[in-house]
Structures are given as structure tokens and as C-alpha cells.
């Protein structure tokens, strides 16, 4: 419905000769953005109804990103609905579903942070799914374009050094039974298969993280299905609730079927 109204608005604008070009282009862009989101709703959510998510979830991203390969995104769950998972959609990326987080019993879903690649000026949608299977979406427009192609990082062999190595940092002091934010850093180039070595003319084969599983003493914290939109050397922040001292376990799988696992003591041993 909204899409149709915008298309009509855009048509009207182009017929009205007196309208400044910039405004006309903007209206056309908005119509195109709405049409794209409609397509994505179909592809990702099978046309399930999606409700206005203000009050349920918020998305924070810089309006103009410094580096299109590393656009920081913060997803914050608001209100008191029980949240099952969060989808992050970068509308104009060719692989638009950047990530799908699902939360386990040990999660504190209130804040998620990650960094994504963005191909073009685009809307970003955060879609929260409640435990009763309702979808709530919010959008934010981001101006970023490394659009050339995802930037070539350091050379391939260098980028693959320490592959799968992880670090974990607790951002809050540990108190048993209280939520704590953790920042997880994973060494992985997340090659998207579009980076060409200009000297050899060879594309670096795609190799990217497909999933991340986090658990605390065998209770699930979260599962992330990810994609080429995740930045290289991903940094992901999330919350969890440690009932007592224990171990946070992270398992990362990539498209080369490599599995990387690491366990971290919580709280981290002193020194």
C-alpha cells in the first residue's frame, strides 16, 4: 500500500515540470527504496506481516559512514516484548541479509553491535521477531559506498594468518546473575569472492563466516547466521547473563567448512 502511494507520488512529481530536479530524484529514490523493501520482505520473510518496530527495536548507524567496509551498527531491543531473534538487512547489498541472530536462554538481547560492509547508499532494516512470532521492523538510511567492490584487504596470505583466532572482552564488571556485555573479535578475512588481485587478475575465492554460536556453561547465548556483508575481522558485541563464574564458549564455522572453537573464562583471570 505504502509502496503504491510512493510510486504514485513519484509519477506525479515527474509530471510536474516545475518541481526541482533534486526533489524529484529524491521521490523516485524513495519509491525505489520502498519497492526494494517489499521485494526483500517477500524473499526473506515470505510476506509475513511486518509491524512498525519503533518501541520494540532501534537501529543506530552513522548517517555517513567513514569506511564502507566497516560500518558500525548497533541494534537495541526496547520495551518488554520477549525477543526470539533479530534480522539485519542491508537493503541494497547483493546479499541483503547481513545477519540473523537468534537468542538462547542465557542471552541478554538488549544490545547487539557489529560491523558490516555496505555497497551503496542504502536503507538498513532491523527486524525483531518476538517469541510469539510477530515481526517488528525499523529502518535507517546510511550513506556509504565503497561500492567499487569490497576493498581488498591486506594480501590474501596475510589476511589468513591467525585465521579463526578470537578475543573476548567483558565490557561490564562481572556480577553473578547480572547481565554483562561482551565484545568478541574474530580473525577472519570474510572474503566475499569479489576482490580481484589486480596483479594476477585472480579473484580471491570467497570464504566467509557462516555461523557463530555462543554458549555459557552449555546454555545457549546466541546463534548468528551471517553472510558476506559481515566485515572482515568481525567484532560482535552481545549481552549474556552468567549465573555464576563459568566459561563462555564460541564456535565459528566458515564456508570452507573450517570450525574454530575457543572458550573464555568469565570473569577473565586476573593479570
Amino acid at each position: 500500500m505504502i509502496r503504491h502511494m510512493l510510486v504514485l507520488a513519484a509519477l506525479g512529481a515527474s509530471l510536474w515540470v516545475g518541481l526541482p530536479l533534486a526533489a524529484q530524484a529524491q521521490e523516485e529514490d524513495e519509491a525505489a527504496n520502498a519497492a526494494r523493501w517489499k521485494d526483500l520482505q517477500h524473499a526473506i520473510f515470505s510476506d509475513r506481516p511486518i509491524l512498525d518496530g519503533s518501541g520494540v527495536i532501534a537501529i543506530d548507524a552513522p548517517p555517513r559512514a567513514m569506511d564502507a567496509a566497516l560500518v558500525p551498527i548497533t541494534l537495541s531491543v526496547k520495551g518488554d516484548k520477549a525477543i526470539k531473534g533479530v534480522y539485519l538487512v542491508v537493503d541494497y547489498n547483493p546479499g541483503p541479509l547481513a545477519g540473523h541472530f537468534t537468542f538462547g536462554p542465557a542471552a541478554d538481547p538488549r544490545v547487539l553491535k557489529l560491523r558490516v560492509r555496505i555497497n551503496a547508499y542504502t536503507n538498513i532494516h532491523a527486524v525483531a521477531e518476538t517469541r510469539d512470532n510477530q515481526l517488528f521492523a525499523v529502518a535507517k538510511f546510511v550513506k556509504a559506498s565503497g561500492g567499487c567492490s569490497a576493498p581488498a584487504g591486506p594480501d590474501d596470505s596475510q589476511a589468513l594468518q591467525n585465521l579463526g583466532r578470537m578475543k573476548l572482552r567483558l565490557l561490564d564488571p562481572f556480577v553473578a546473575g547480572k547481565p554483562v556485555q561482551a565484545q568478541l573479535m574474530i580473525r577472519h578475512p570474510n572474503f566475499n569472492g569479489m576482490q580481484m588481485n589486480q596483479v594476477t587478475h585472480l579473484y580471491t575465492p570467497a570464504r566467509f563466516i557462516r555461523s557463530v554460536d555462543v554458549s555459557y556453561d552449555d546454555a545457549q547465548v546466541l546463534h548468528l547466521d551471517s553472510d558476506i556483508s559481515l566485515s572482515s575481522d568481525p567484532v560482535i558485541s552481545f549481552g549474556f547473563v552468567p549465573p555464576q563464574k563459568g566459561q563462555l564458549k564460541v564456535v565459528v564455522r566458515d564456508t570452507a567448512d573450517a570450525t574454530f572453537g575457543q572458550s573464555f573464562d568469565v570473569p577473565a583471570p586476573a593479570g
Partner: protein, 356 residues
């Protein structure tokens, strides 16, 4: 100034990752094509061409300029999860754009170069005086390289539009959906195969390279030069290997285990650099990823050209090729040319590896 721009203290955490907006740095024009990171600051000029902005370009297009978009086309990555959506958006471009992905890379195969030249000739009806505008994205070297290439082809009115599609949109100018020009089979870059990353065995080793002995073609100068040239080729081949070893770009393989094969091929072929892929047999026997053939074409005792080609063993394609003209058929000139070539390879690789 920066203090005035910085975010208030209450700003959420992402500010810490971004920091204050800095003025965009400007790069110097490189002497040749840019082989470094394509998504990095670009120069403010292009030698032999004109930098143009959105409004002027809009006027120029109305006057019949040919406009070429050299943005990359998205490629579906292998390994995408079966249910994951892959939905590249229709390519939005300046109306009437000729979209030729790949025409802006720093170094291209001779086949692609010939294709790009022919496609421009077709679009301009062979008129080197026709205005030609080239763009891709904001802050993207591909358009600079492609414009530079067009200048090299002899076009006299080449306009480079560095603001790209983003700048065009920001000026409120209309766009249109275009489809990529289909490149001929022979001009396509080789498939992405070598070197195969080893599963869970980081780091990936350097490509395994076989360096075949240098060869001499062209006007050999007569029988009195035969002994001199044989000695020079031996010296030059050793020099080449030593220079390449110093670059640490490759794992250089010992040819000795394949010497019988090499000898047999040499008895059957005039040149191994031009033997319909027989050099790949040597590469396979030695377990190499790449084979390098190098030859000097002697036009006269004064004018010579040193050329190398690196062949990908798995695909049989030319992975890299470059020629260097030099003067003087003597040990000093040859050595100088080989050293230069090795340095050039290393600099190109270093530039390609430059990160943000």
C-alpha cells in the same frame, strides 16, 4: 575546528569507532595504472584528460558525449547458504552509459585490453576526437584507470568524473538501469582457482612458481652472436631467479626434477614461451601453481623488449603479462631490464596488498 565538529559526550559507542569526519586525503597521480586498493583516495587530476563535475557532465552528455561506467558487477560468492537471498539490484547508471565492468583494473590481459579498445572505437564510431566520459563510484580508482587507458588509446577529449554515480545522484540528476556489456569469452579474467586455500591450515602458502629459462626471439643477429647469446641467456635466467627470490612473492621451485621433460620439449619446440601450453606440463610435473616464461625480443642490437607471462597451471590462463622496452644487446642492459622487471612485479604486488 575538529573540536567543534566532534560529537557531544553523550554520543553512543559507534562514535568511538568512527571518530570525527576528516577531510578526504588526495592521492598523487601514479606514473602508470593504479594497481593498489581501488577503493582509496584518488588524485584530483588526470594527466591528458579533464576532471569534470556533475553539472558540466550533464551538459556534455546532451551534446553527445559517450559515457562509460566501469563499476564492478556483483558476483555470487560460492558457499552462500542455500536459503540465503542473493538479490543484486539492477545497475543504476547515468542514462545511456556503456557499462563495461573490468575495464578499470590496474593490469589487464591483452585480450581484454583489445576488447575495451574495440568497444570504445565502436561507441565513438572511431572518432578519437569524440568526447568520452568515464566514471564508476565516488572515491574509486577504476574510473581513473579506465580514463587513463582511453587517453592512451589516443582519445583527445577524455573526461574523468571522480564523483561517480553517488555524486551524480547527489546533484539530483536522473539515473537509468543499464545492463553490463558482455565481454567476449577470450577476454574474461581467468576463473578464481589458484592458489587454493588450504582448509584450516593457515597461513596460505605463497604461490608455487616455476621459472623457465629466458629465451631470445626476433633478429638474432647471425651465427657470430650464438655463443654470446647463449651465455647471456644463462646469466639472465640466473639473474631473474635471484631477483624473484628476493621479492618473496613466490615459492620458487627447482626445475631439476622436470629437466628431462624440459629438454624433450625444447627439442620439439622453438620456444617454450609460445608452445601452446606445453610449459603447463612442466608446472604440473613440479606441482606448481604458476609457470613464468620470459623472453627478450631482439628487434636490433639496439632495440629490445623483455616480456614475461605468468601462466596459471590449473586454468591455463595468462595470470599476468608485461613488457619492458630496453636499449642495448649487452649484459649490463639486460641485467638492468631484469632487475627493473622484478622490482615492478614486487611494487605491483605491494600496491595490490595495500590496506586501508
Amino acid at each position: 575546528m575538529l573540536a567543534a565538529l566532534s560529537a557531544p559526550a553523550a554520543a553512543p559507542a559507534p562514535a568511538a569507532q568512527g571518530g570525527a569526519q576528516q577531510p578526504q586525503p588526495v592521492a598523487q597521480e601514479p606514473p602508470g595504472f593504479w594497481t593498489g586498493n581501488i577503493d582509496s583516495p584518488v588524485p584530483s587530476t588526470i594527466h591528458g584528460g579533464v576532471v569534470i563535475h556533475a553539472r558540466e557532465l550533464s551538459t556534455l552528455l546532451k551534446q553527445g558525449a559517450v559515457v562509460v561506467d566501469v563499476s564492478n558487477a556483483p558476483r555470487r560468492p560460492e558457499g552462500l547458504a542455500p536459503g540465503a537471498p542473493w538479490m543484486p539490484v539492477p545497475h543504476s547508471a547515468l542514462p545511456g552509459s556503456l557499462w563495461i565492468p573490468g575495464a578499470g583494473v590496474g593490469s589487464m590481459t591483452p585480450a581484454f585490453d583489445a576488447y575495451f579498445r574495440a568497444r570504445l572505437a565502436q561507441a565513438t564510431a572511431g572518432d578519437l576526437g569524440r568526447a568520452l566520459a568515464v566514471y564508476c563510484h565516488d572515491r574509486c580508482w577504476l574510473s581513473w584507470n579506465a580514463a587513463k587507458r582511453a587517453i592512451g588509446y589516443g582519445y583527445r577529449r577524455v573526461y574523468w568524473f571522480p564523483e561517480g554515480i553517488e555524486g551524480w545522484r547527489a546533484a539530483g540528476l536522473p539515473t537509468a538501469t543499464v545492463a553490463a556489456q558482455r565481454e567476449p569469452e577470450s577476454a574474461q579474467p581467468p576463473p578464481a582457482r589458484s592458489p587454493t586455500p588450504q582448509l584450516s591450515q593457515p597461513p596460505v602458502p605463497r604461490p608455487r612458481l616455476v621459472v623457465l629459462d629466458m629465451e631470445l626471439s626476433g633478429d638474432l643477429g647471425g651465427p657470430e652472436f650464438t655463443a654470446e647469446h647463449a651465455a647471456r641467456l644463462t646469466m639472465a635466467s640466473a639473474r631473474l631467479r635471484a631477483d624473484l627470490a628476493r621479492t618473496h612473492l613466490y615459492e620458487l621451485l627447482d626445475n631439476a626434477p622436470a629437466q628431462d621433460l624440459i629438454d624433450r620439449l625444447k627439442s620439439q619446440q622453438l620456444y617454450l614461451h609460445e608452445c601452446n601450453g606445453c610449459d603447463l606440463d612442466v608446472g604440473r610435473q613440479l606441482g606448481a601453481n604458476l609457470v613464468m616464461v620470459t623472453w627478450v625480443n631482439r628487434v636490433s642490437g639496439l632495440i629490445l623488449t623483455l616480456t614475461y607471462e605468468i601462466h596459471d597451471v590449473a586454468s591455463g590462463q595468462i595470470a599476468a603479462r608485461k613488457s619492458f622496452d630496453f636499449r642495448g644487446d649487452n649484459d649490463v642492459a639486460w641485467t638492468h631490464a631484469i632487475d627493473y622487471m622484478a622490482r615492478d612485479l614486487q611494487e605491483a604486488a605491494a600496491a595490490a596488498g595495500t590496506s586501508h
